[in-house]
């Protein structure tokens, strides 16, 4: 890999008495990237994130932070927004954020100064003396987000960051994540929302049943999972087009829209896109032609399901 490996997980194994939660998982997060950790429910994502946050220890395997062995002193270099997150309900917002920042190793004054910046940015100054229980859920999530990033950690970890956020806050959060990346942070996040993976992630790891089953650059993975599916828009007689493709190509879909027909065709390994064009050109007018690259959602489903079979 050309980029330096910023954080690496090597052969991590975690067993619970009756089952194995992580089975020799290896993962390398490049510096300055946004890295997606994907997988169905119960695959072991949260366990891996907890190991990275030193909440639990692996049974086997090693972790490295910038090439050096990851130690407990490094914990303040990480910001973690867990999936199960909350705040002390009876505590005031200001006091609580200062407390949590100090637990991460910041001094009181440093925490106050940074909090002032973020509270102004999100227009939350009025909440400072309110108890958490008086805030709406969306407000609480903003407070949690600030607490996670306040100490300017080099590595940020978000577990299902968008769950429970309304679309406006989701957008706000996405923009902040991209901002943080621009400022040099490396971000690891786990999610089920494949749309946000395509939108944000540079790299992903897909874990299923405790094992890594897919890893790499998002665009590469999508290209790798092309299935020789082509989409052709044409004018003319659909029957003639079907006739000329019949036998050698599988017709997946055919719709008519705005005076034009759109057909989806899958070619087997003997043929390429050019072969399809050659066949259609004589019988119809081509309006558009492109190869269909699968979405991350499709890749996810296909890979996970192929494992089950």
């Amino acid at each position: 890999m050309p980029e330096t490996e910023f954080f690496s997980v090597r052969n991590v194994v975690k067993r619970y008495s009756s089952n194995i939660a992580l089975d020799h998982v290896t993962m390398g997060i490049p510096e300055g990237s946004i890295y997606g950790l994907l997988g169905p429910n119960g695959a072991g994502k949260t366990t891996l994130l907890r190991i990275i946050n030193q909440i639990t220890a692996p049974d086997e395997g090693e972790l490295f932070f910038k090439g050096k062995k990851f130690t407990s002193a490094d914990i303040s270099r990480i910001g973690y927004l867990p999936e199960e997150r909350g705040l002390y309900r009876k505590m005031k917002v200001g006091e609580q954020t200062v407390y949590l920042a100090r637990l991460k190793g910041m001094s009181r004054n440093e925490a106050l100064a940074k909090l002032k910046y973020w509270f102004e940015k999100f227009e939350m100054q009025a909440w400072w003396n309110k108890k958490v229980e008086e805030l709406s859920k969306g407000m609480q999530q903003k407070v949690q987000f600030i607490v996670t990033i306040l100490h300017q950690p080099e590595l940020l970890i978000f577990d299902e960051p968008f769950s429970g956020f309304d679309p406006i806050n989701t957008n706000l959060l996405k923009n902040e994540i991209l901002n943080l990346k621009r400022q040099g942070s490396t971000i690891l996040f786990s999610t089920h929302d494949m749309g946000s993976v395509e939108e944000l992630c540079d790299h992903i790891t897909l874990i299923n049943k405790s094992k890594t089953i897919l890893e790499g650059n998002v665009q590469e993975i999508r290209m790798r999972h092309k299935s020789n599916l082509f989409e052709i828009g044409f004018t003319g007689d659909p029957a003639a087009v079907l006739q000329t493709l019949n036998g050698d190509f599988e017709q997946v879909d055919l719709v008519a829209e705005q005076g034009m027909h759109v057909i989806k065709v899958r070619a087997d390994h003997r043929f390429s896109g050019n072969d399809i064009l050659k066949r259609i050109l004589p019988v119809a007018g081509i309006a558009s032609f492109n190869e269909v690259i699968p979405s991350m959602n499709e890749v996810f489903i296909r890979v996970v399901e192929s494992q089950h079979n």
């Binding site: 030193q54 909440i55 220890a57 407990s72 990480i78 909350g86 002390y88 637990l103």
Partner: protein
Amino acid sequence: MNKIGLIIAREYITRVRKKSFILMTFLGPVLFAALMILPGMLTTMEDTDKSTIAVVEQDSYGRPLPDSLQFFRDVIPDKENMKFVYLNNMRLQDVLKTYDADAYDGILFLSQDIISAGRETSVDFYYRKPPSLGMELHISKSLEKHIFDNKLIVNKIPVNAIQSFETKVNLKRIDWKNWQKGGEDATDIKRFLGYICGFLIYLFIFMFGAQVMRGVLEEKTSRIIEVIISSVKPFQLMLGKIIGIGLTGLTQFLAWIILTFAIAGITQQVFMPGSIKAVTEQAAPGNVMDAGTHTVQSFDSPQTESAIRDVFRQLRQVNFALVIGAFIFFFIGGYILYGSLFAAIGAASDNETDTQQFMFPISIPLIVGLLVMINTFLNPSGKLAVWFSIIPFTSPIVMMARIPFGVPPVGQILASVLLLILTFLFTTWLAAKIYRTGILMYGKKTSYREMWKWIRYKN
């Protein structure tokens, strides 16, 4: 270490600032003072309802008697809240029938033959509302005295002579160990002190142990736990919580002790100068037994003054430095032992109801400790007291009840202290193992088997 300090500070400050803490700090001593004063106050206080009691006297054949032939006429004097009406020539049957007329609150029926009764006899008292203890005592004492005096006359013994025959014998306890120094003991006050100390420790462990449990549950149910343990180790969080709440408890108890004595002292000085004796007697059941068998106890001033002097002389014999030192040690030791177990319970549960199943086995040794402590206070060097003051789960309560009483052998104290330290180190270690797994478990009811697995997890 710095992080534990932050956690301790948060736990302490958020609790001490709570309205309920401030309220309890001021209310607690009022309740305690009431507990100390009330028994004394009750004995000096009669109920305020005025009762009219009809006294019916008949001869041994059941015939009514005119005033002039009655033996017991005017024998029972009226008191503020009771009036006795001696009926002339009335049959019990006829008086009983007047129930609906509502003229009397009760009927005392006397058969003349009780005047020559032997060691024990009884008289009937018909009531609408059961008589108060004070009234019962007043009636029987008056009758007893009259029968006694009458027997003296019948036997031709001068009444004033008999008073010089009567001798009351009290046991003066002398500590053999200190016989050369005169060795007067302070058993009563020491018993009382031991009882208070043991009880306070019991209360403290239960109250603040439960707070640890609730604190852990709060972090679990609010889901903040994972945010925090990504900054600190679960053990640091648990320890910080236990220490912070423990300090809250110490603060509250210190405030209570100071305020209790202040309030009790002021109240006694101002309102009831006599009740100190009642309090010390209440604390020593041995004394209550012989109180007032012959003469009704009165709180006449010379007696009271000497009682107060007694209390202060006895108090001076208590080794307060030892008592306070031991109190703080057993306070802390017992609280950490149970507090860590309470933390484990909180971590293994999802809500208060879930905690019930685990609370039971922890409450039992505490309650056993309290029961043994009550026994201790009657017999502080008995086998039961000695063993339970060494067994760590009951030792804070039981040993604390023994120490003010007289220093137990050094070997026993050392064994108790050492075992308590070892045990709380062990329970804290055990609790930490359950805690660090339990806090991350949601939505599943934990079984003991599950907990056993958690204990064996490597990390």
